[in-house]
């Protein structure tokens, strides 16, 4: 298939940036979206032009590195996939495809389609962990009884790969689905209880300081999340936050 690509090009963080049109021919419907960009970059390099910078790593839908806002949606029109899992068969011959970086003040563009998502790392550092004694007396995890339901819900929350599609899709650039998942994965388990109050207070404080917007419950994040993280995690974070605030 032959396609017209409208790709955001931006030399560096301070450059203004603009959409640039590229024509690409003979795209196989079996290619992944990133492979299609690889082909484009091969051509650009052969022609002596600057290749398009975009994030990618595992190309298996696990690492959360690949981003891209494709035709107005994070990770493109498919559901439950990252950009590396999006295939060109989702498009038709002659299509014009807009490819933009994830947009949020808290995710500044580094170059072209690459954004700085270290705000998520700083939120994790603020409380997304449990403190475990590793002196040799560590208790076997299986000796602590956990209900199947709680274990399943915690595992579901823990599948968040921190890709930032929630922020990119939210009209408010809110990070609450990400933070809700990270709070929930510990709040649901006994191991997470000791630091539960500090965790939610510190992570929300960091989230607010990073300049993400406020959640208005549009639900766009849940729909666009490649891992199907549920809005229930935001509701849980809200109650955890209230409980922690009341505790003082």
């Amino acid at each position: 298939m032959n396609l017209t690509l409208k790709i955001w090009r931006q030399k560096n963080a301070s450059d203004k940036g603009k959409l640039v049109d590229y024509l690409i021919n003979d795209v196989s419907p079996d290619m992944s979206f990133l492979e299609m960009l690889d082909v484009l970059n091969d051509k650009l390099i052969t022609d002596g032009d600057e290749p398009v910078a975009f994030d990618h790593d595992c190309r298996e839908g696990i690492c959360g590195m690949c981003s891209l806002y494709i035709n107005g949606e994070a990770h493109g029109p498919d559901r439950g996939v990252t950009t590396c899992q999006l295939h060109m068969r989702k498009f038709t011959d002659g299509d014009t495809i807009y490819i933009e970086p994830f947009r949020a003040k808290a995710f500044p563009v580094i170059k072209d389609l690459v954004v700085d998502r270290s705000a998520f790392d700083r939120i994790q550092h603020a409380g997304g962990f449990i403190s475990v004694n590793t002196s040799g007396n560590t208790q076997d995890a299986n000796s602590i009884p956990i209900s199947k339901h709680a274990a399943d819900e915690a595992m579901d929350a823990a599948t968040c790969i921190g890709c930032g599609a929630c922020v990119a899709s939210c009209k408010n650039s809110s990070a609450m689905l990400f933070v809700g998942a990270k709070v929930s994965q510990y709040a649901l388990l006994p191991q997470g209880q000791v630091e539960a109050a500090d965790r939610v207070l510190n992570m929300v404080k960091q989230m607010d300081e990073e300049g993400f917007g406020n959640c208005t419950n549009t639900g766009a994040c849940e729909i666009e999340c490649p891992k199907g993280i549920s809005l229930e995690n935001i509701a849980r974070m809200n109650t955890e936050y209230l409980k922690a605030s009341l505790k003082g």
């Binding site: 107005g72 003040k105 609450m176 929300v204 300049g211 406020n214 549009t218 809200n238 605030s245």
Partner: protein, 225 residues
């Protein structure tokens, strides 16, 4: 607890709590207005009670005023913050693929309702405050009879005013179609009851505004005969 209401989650809670209060107020307002359809006398009596009862006038009314002001002022502040959180817009954004029009346009439906409240206050609330608190007339009487039902009918004579009321309630329905369930999600209620609550929320969001529209139309056409 001090920092709670300064945080993004605390403000969500506060928006939701004021929304719950306003939705409860709307329900009782509808119930009282609805009496006017079948009994002017009942409407007069209930209106007089609501307009003169000290608990309602001096406790609940100030809470209501605070709730209304907080809801729209905070709504505007949060909207401005949210716009600031994305300073460069997408060249192509397919919002309809993942969210409802109502959820994305709460600020606009909210501002439309705020504009309507200006008209509504001009029609009913300001004259009421003037009569009671400035002129000092708490009798509720005009020419020896309760004035409330008569005032209601007078206001709904104008087709322009009735049209504006109907339009405002369409905006209210759109606002509630997202707002009702959004308020529950904000206070952390997302559980096995959510599906049922969503259905109830949709019914509330459509039936209550529709009820107000029916009342306005009833008085408009009934009086003209």
């Amino acid at each position: 607890m001090g920092g709670f209401f300064k945080s993004s989650i605390g403000r969500k809670f506060a928006m939701a709590l004021s929304a719950f209060f306003l939705m409860f107020f709307l329900l009782q307002h509808f119930a009282i207005n609805f009496t006017s359809v079948f009994s002017g006398e009942t409407f007069n009596e209930v209106s007089h009670f609501m307009g003169t009862n000290p608990l309602i006038q001096f406790v609940l009314q100030p809470i209501l005023i605070f709730g209304v002001i907080y809801h729209f002022v905070m709504g505007i502040i949060l909207e401005l913050q949210n716009r600031n959180a994305r300073q460069i817009s997408y060249a192509k954004n397919n919002g309809g693929a993942n969210s409802t029009w109502m959820s994305r346009n709460m600020i606009w439906t909210g501002l439309a309702i705020l504009a309507f409240m200006g008209l509504h206050f001009y029609d009913f609330w300001f004259p009421e405050i003037n009569t009671k608190f400035i002129e000092g007339d708490w009798s509720g009487l005009h020419d020896g009879e309760f004035r409330y039902y008569h005032e209601l009918q007078e206001k709904f004579l104008s087709p322009v005013r009735v049209g504006l009321y109907v339009l405002a309630f369409v905006f209210l329905a759109l606002h509630l179609l997202h707002g009702f369930n959004s308020a529950f999600q904000s206070v952390g209620a997302n559980n096995k009851y959510t599906r049922g609550l969503k259905l109830f929320g949709k019914l509330y969001a459509i039936l209550i505004p529709l009820g107000f529209v029916v009342i306005a139309l009833y008085h408009h056409f009934n009086h003209n005969h």
